[in-house]
Symmetry: D2
Subunit: 386 residues, 4 copies
Amino acid sequence: MLDYFDMESTLSEEERMLVDSARSFIDGEVEDIGQHWIDGTFPMDLIPKMGEMGFYAPNLEGYGLPGVSETAYGLLMRELEACDSGLRSMASVQGALVMYPIHAFGSDAQKEEWLPKLGTGEAVGCFGLTEPEHGSNPSAMETRAEADGDDYVLNGSKTWITNSPIADVAVVWAKDHTEEGTPVRGFLVETDRDGVTTNKIDEKLSLRASITGEISLQDVHVPAENVLPEVTGMKGPLSCLTQARYGIAWGAVGAAMDCFEVAREYATDREQFGKPIGGFQMQQQKLAEMATQITLAQLLAHRLADLKEAGEMRPQHVSMAKRNNVRTARDQSRIAREMLGGNGITADYSPMRHMTNMETVYTYEGTHDIHTLIIGEDLTGIPAYQ
Amino acid sequence: MLDYFDMESTLSEEERMLVDSARSFIDGEVEDIGQHWIDGTFPMDLIPKMGEMGFYAPNLEGYGLPGVSETAYGLLMRELEACDSGLRSMASVQGALVMYPIHAFGSDAQKEEWLPKLGTGEAVGCFGLTEPEHGSNPSAMETRAEADGDDYVLNGSKTWITNSPIADVAVVWAKDHTEEGTPVRGFLVETDRDGVTTNKIDEKLSLRASITGEISLQDVHVPAENVLPEVTGMKGPLSCLTQARYGIAWGAVGAAMDCFEVAREYATDREQFGKPIGGFQMQQQKLAEMATQITLAQLLAHRLADLKEAGEMRPQHVSMAKRNNVRTARDQSRIAREMLGGNGITADYSPMRHMTNMETVYTYEGTHDIHTLIIGEDLTGIPAYQ
Amino acid sequence: MLDYFDMESTLSEEERMLVDSARSFIDGEVEDIGQHWIDGTFPMDLIPKMGEMGFYAPNLEGYGLPGVSETAYGLLMRELEACDSGLRSMASVQGALVMYPIHAFGSDAQKEEWLPKLGTGEAVGCFGLTEPEHGSNPSAMETRAEADGDDYVLNGSKTWITNSPIADVAVVWAKDHTEEGTPVRGFLVETDRDGVTTNKIDEKLSLRASITGEISLQDVHVPAENVLPEVTGMKGPLSCLTQARYGIAWGAVGAAMDCFEVAREYATDREQFGKPIGGFQMQQQKLAEMATQITLAQLLAHRLADLKEAGEMRPQHVSMAKRNNVRTARDQSRIAREMLGGNGITADYSPMRHMTNMETVYTYEGTHDIHTLIIGEDLTGIPAYQ
Amino acid sequence: MLDYFDMESTLSEEERMLVDSARSFIDGEVEDIGQHWIDGTFPMDLIPKMGEMGFYAPNLEGYGLPGVSETAYGLLMRELEACDSGLRSMASVQGALVMYPIHAFGSDAQKEEWLPKLGTGEAVGCFGLTEPEHGSNPSAMETRAEADGDDYVLNGSKTWITNSPIADVAVVWAKDHTEEGTPVRGFLVETDRDGVTTNKIDEKLSLRASITGEISLQDVHVPAENVLPEVTGMKGPLSCLTQARYGIAWGAVGAAMDCFEVAREYATDREQFGKPIGGFQMQQQKLAEMATQITLAQLLAHRLADLKEAGEMRPQHVSMAKRNNVRTARDQSRIAREMLGGNGITADYSPMRHMTNMETVYTYEGTHDIHTLIIGEDLTGIPAYQ
């Protein structure tokens, strides 16, 4: 895989081994992801296998989690997304959006109950923040929680929730109307509770090898001990998003790298007009540009990891990296696809699949435009969202 | 539909009526094209209905064909592709790639046999030029014809053939090894002849609402009267491509127009941060750019029609229009999709479907890069294909 | 000059002759415009010569003005800017920003006094709208007029005024504080009046072959008969801008066409690696793209002329054409320059001069961004300037 | 200055001090570089002052040179070009193109004679490689050397030679016709030798604050000891270009950073429509994009420095960095300029000056396109120059 500025030489032995084992896993265990994409299915057998490999929140510590470096975690996301954004999304949601908030904001009982079985993939989690009418502005959420004796009663609906139809537990963010100011709180909602329904969204043309659904909450009772005790306000969900976006910033690099390798190989194999098409200037231009943009994205991801490891990473850093790297993957996957000519529109080659996936990745976890405005505010001191 | 520079005022009454009837047809007869796309099926019931409407080669005359203006024909392609590139492809192949060469190069017997039933959609045709190893350079084709008594025997394989699995007849281009210099000739090959197989290509991620397949020819005997008598050499297939590309240059405008209307409506309806997203500068920028690019593409298509009507259209004009207009549709459909946020990745809205279709359209009938080089040669006098 | 889609065939004989005579004039009368650019001077001898040729407001009628077609007028602007934006600016200011408002909004006496001598170039005019603190939002202007007996007293300062240092008369827009609501009014201010100073701006790095200055007004008395009687409010200056922008939309095409011709000639002459650089794919790609973008800009300008001639042109049409065509000239001049390699950075070739000029043209008469928002408002019904 | 991903924290104390001292030097010693640009002059008083500061080849060791880190050297180039590409060009030519080859390939006598006085700026050098007919393909050079007793006789002409009109010595590359295969050799040619003329090129519209000229060699006799003894073939000049391009890859970042700071400050100060323009979405988008692209360029430069320091830098790495970073500076300076509106076209603000300079930087030391093909060859194994 492309490593033009030799970042491998900066890795630790452990990091290198993790890359190798992730690649072996994908080569050995993931069968015909293209067909899954066409069929709109996730390879369910991978869920426990990925747990066994330690792919869920390996950067956390305790509860059997290995606490690998942020670079190692990033490299893992990269390798998973080199296969398909669906795999990386599985790991992102489980690790960064479910295990992370339980780890960071949960009670000891919550941690003990959930982290081990989420870590192994015995249980599947999902993250309920986005609502039908509130995508880019989640703080306007309408889902509400009200105290009812020792319980809370939840009402509302969430959508675009990765894995909701297959999840055992949902981290649901809702406004607590019991308290003044209706602060946002996180609730662990088991999906088999009365009043919870999780319809699957079938008509996707992107990220089809990933399950997406809604969460409908109608008078759902959850006990008070299901509240995440250590966080109040939008800081809760936003800090989860920062973790997940970090993984996306890395993951997108993987998708782009895979596209590049496929395009390079095709260009050196495929002959037209009597020579490999990789020998034509216009095709070299595409390869040179892809290699450059991928190298830049790699450097950004690596530097982001260093900042995270050092405790210096700000959410705005993540915004810049998510925004840039996903755009790179989006643009370069399209170039790779076009280099493959007619063959490029099939599931036999990965670029078009990555290209379509990138439309989701460009949009979720903060759209490209929202990240633009986050950076813009950071640079000028003036918010311009409204 | 967007008509910012009021081209409608330049249309004849007949042209305006044709636009209206095409729109009515699509509204009334085409059901859930998005589901067809997901399922990888073409709405077969439309084939005779489109014939009844006169959508196949209406710009030709005789044999019951109405001989409408080139502008009218272009507008029809535009309206069909505003629905889906699959519909326009159906009409393009039937009209420009099958009926056109029979009309232009066929014997009277061939015309009488085929034009009426192709015109009504009673029969379906396909066009066999591209081969697995020869996409951008068709003159290197390997399919061969050899005389055997009064017959020709054809051997070879063609691929990326729209409608081959459902076609009754294929216009197959092959090198005639009976003659010195092995000139290219066109053959009308009924698909029920011995030795003909037409496998469907299933794994497409683009233009899924259109049937694509191969044509395999193994010792296929066709009588000499199935040769198109009036053309020899690459001029034959290339002149067909000019006709089809003309339709694509118009069709792509339709796809882009549809994306624009969907995005504009979404932007004025969808509220975030307390107002329609169409009121935000970054979204207006997208709409303004889409409207500009579409207006330019419209003007190019209209001017191309005038040149064609006047007999002044050169293949290089078509190259410029196909190249520019498809790129516009490809780029602007992506922008439209991103404006729709999460909803934009579903089949409930057309932009992502158009966006994926455009990858095929960008590639077939001369890739974007090949058209670049055709124009480049025209401007410099120097061929740079090799 | 490039005319890929043969728009010449749509011209009248008169229009064709005007193009020819403009080209002859530039070839014969304009000496070393590159040196003027370096020196920061306008070729003053051209002012009356351009008048003699009828280059100032030829689309107006009466007072000795020929009343040519809007297409003819556009073609003239195109040919002037193919030489240098400075020449076109001279004609635009004199014709569209000074003669036009006098013609449209002036009294008979004003017309009789000024139109003949502005038409011949005996007198030079300028247009005072923009203020140091109010560029994109001219309605916030601070320049004020107050009645004092039969006179008005003007105070304020204007900047970025083409030709102010050499003008005999300025059309100054000011808020009339005598009236309720302080409506904007136009004043003909002779520059030799007490209190008028017109400093030249020397430090320009763009449009250097054009004189730009300020207008400072300190207690300047003008008689009431110097008010333009027939217009009140921002409609006055804005309608002038529409006229001038129309000319720019055409002029920019000329700059781009000149760049293209220089680049094409260079590419077919200059050899590297044993052949003309125009034979390399990456250079053909640049030429093909230039030719395409120029063709689109030409079609947009021609259609705009037809709408104007028919009385159907809206200011938003002009915004789209100015915005698109100037961007095209800005982008394509840069490509042309890069094709010329080292030679491209000199005044011996026009592209870099055009490229730097385009920065001004991109900014004046409504910046690119303002036109984006004008179109955006038109498409959505929502203003987003603030 | 922008350092969004906090690369400063990775610098050594020495590196940080060098940045500070370079900034102080520029603030204190460089007067009105904008006026120099307009006048087409280089501030000659800076030549010895820059020597005193140790700005010439500080990454080399011995002969009084400090041997700073490659990162330090890069940062210095960045700071110089943040002022003007003319200053960085002065340092690049003197250090990387003259002192470097003497240091790497010179005899002890050559080193002792030239390195000290070039290092202090007492003498000025230039680099004679490019010829009028051979820009992108220097190995086709026509300049020839022939032995004549103990001398060589040089004939030929070089052009686009930075500093040739003010140089004391030129490193001239010529084909040695005395030897079989006419290998390229380097010659130290004092410019006061008979037969040497160095005309200045005056008509530049870019990099005007830098002296550029030709070198004409007519039967110029140089003694054999003026030959650089330790290198033969194109490896000689190409290794110098690698050094200089390394500095450009860093320098371009400085130009872009300066543009960004000017634009950011302008955007937060300048008000229109009642608020700072930096509060508008479309302007934030520009700032966010500039910050992103600059951050990427910074990371690329820093990683390149690490590779160079480790002895792992290949010329292709430099090609990628030069190509990307100069393009970034070229594109972003244009965006910065446009954010400044009318003020942006003046020498009062740096962006337009940087923007025009970048046209030269984009072209010299390997055009953008040549670097594309260098990377393309590296990725495919297929050369596509011809």
